[in-house]
């Protein structure tokens, strides 16, 4: 690990953030693009759920997390508060691992 990597990465990562939010973000963008961007959050959140449920690094794996996330889906479907959904997901996963 070098300071060059740490600081170069810091500069690059911040540049991307500023490019989207400040440089491009304030100008009018085509209506078509704006409509399309409205779709990104749904795809993004679903992708994060899928990634955190099924993958370890680049390896796909079905384990106790799937049971936990499935329990969370049921809780969310039944309109449980978000904290309950999170706790149910973690508790079911931990319980299943403890039993094994």
């Amino acid at each position: 690990m070098t300071w060059g990597l740490v600081l170069g990465l810091a500069a690059g990562a911040y540049a991307f953030k500023v490019l989207g939010l400040v440089v491009i973000g304030d100008r009018p963008i085509p209506a078509m693009l704006e409509r399309c961007l409205a779709l990104i959050p749904a795809a993004l959140i679903a992708a994060i759920v899928a990634k955190d449920t099924f993958s370890i690094g680049q390896h796909l794996q079905v384990d106790a997390r799937l049971a936990g996330v499935t329990a969370a889906v049921i809780a969310a479907w039944r309109k449980a508060p978000v904290i309950v959904v999170i706790l149910v997901g973690a508790a079911v996963t931990a319980a299943l691992r403890a039993l094994r």
């Binding site: 690990m1 070098t2 300071w3 060059g4 990597l5 740490v6 600081l7 990465l9 810091a10 690059g12 990562a13 991307f16 953030k17 490019l19 989207g20 939010l21 400040v22 491009i24 973000g25 304030d26 409509r35 399309c36 961007l37 409205a38 779709l39 990104i40 959050p41 749904a42 795809a43 993004l44 959140i45 679903a46 992708a47 994060i48 759920v49 899928a50 990634k51 955190d52 449920t53 099924f54 993958s55 690094g57 680049q58 390896h59 796909l60 106790a64 997390r65 936990g68 996330v69 969370a72 969310a76 978000v82 904290i83 959904v85 999170i86 706790l87 973690a90 079911v92 996963t93 931990a94």
Partner: protein, 230 residues
């Protein structure tokens, strides 16, 4: 009125921040064990502040990769924050210094939490509360992990399932429209099917952008899903 509506948002955002903080501990441990100093590890969390990129850089270095390849992979992952910035920009108004500050906390979680809200005021509140609480807990967790140097096992407490569970709750508002459901399905399928082939973290970017190609524009103008009344 706003205070009552703000309370559950505040609780949720801070809880998410604490959950992310636990993973920061494992980042601190991983970074130090990859040969970085405590100072390098903490400066990375303070300045880079985008988890997937940090983990990716540390993982490449630990695996014997070059500085260049570590930088390339990590910046590829960091690019998605630019896409999130586009999404957040209409919701973050104000002077340049404020927007430059907002840029640093434009990450997966703050964008997701903001767009999960229906009210513009609550969207702004969720963005700032999530971003700031994650910034605090991410850096606190990194410091603890770097100093401790030995992992607490997040798996033992099911914390690796707590994050997707939180995102499950956030996904629900987007499933109210047919286009939202279609985008979510395509996003999940694109992500899982590309995980084995793409650098870690990139499938999320592919899923976010792929949906633009996969879901055709509507004939009638529409409000973004997050703006629809509950």
């Amino acid at each position: 009125m706003i205070d009552q509506r703000l309370r559950p948002v505040f609780t949720t955002c801070v809880t998410l921040g604490m959950a992310v903080g636990v993973f920061a501990v494992s980042f601190g441990v991983a970074s130090v064990s990859a040969g970085a100093s405590v100072a390098q590890t903490c400066v990375m969390s303070l300045l880079v502040f985008t988890g997937a990129s940090q983990f990716s850089a540390v993982s490449v270095i630990k695996g014997g990769g070059s500085v260049g390849s570590a930088m390339g992979g990590a910046l590829l992952l960091a690019a998605r924050n630019g896409v999130f910035g586009l999404t957040m920009s209409p919701r973050i108004r104000g002077r340049l210094p404020k927007r430059l500050l907002a840029a640093q906390i434009t990450i997966d979680e703050s964008t997701a939490m903001a767009t999960a809200q229906t009210d513009p005021d609550l969207q702004r509140a969720a963005f700032w509360i999530t971003g700031v609480s994650i910034y605090v807990f991410w850096n606190l967790g990194t410091l603890i992990g770097a100093l401790a140097g030995n992992a607490i096992d997040p798996k033992k407490f099911g914390l690796d399932a707590a994050l997707p569970a939180a995102f499950v709750a956030m996904l629900v508002p987007h499933l109210r429209t047919q286009r939202g459901r279609r985008a979510a399905l395509i996003g999940a399928v694109l992500c899982v099917s590309t995980i084995p082939f793409l650098p870690i973290g990139l499938p999320i970017l592919v899923a976010s952008l792929g949906v633009l190609v996969a879901v055709p524009a509507p004939k009638q103008p529409e409000l973004p899903p997050a703006m629809l009344p509950a």
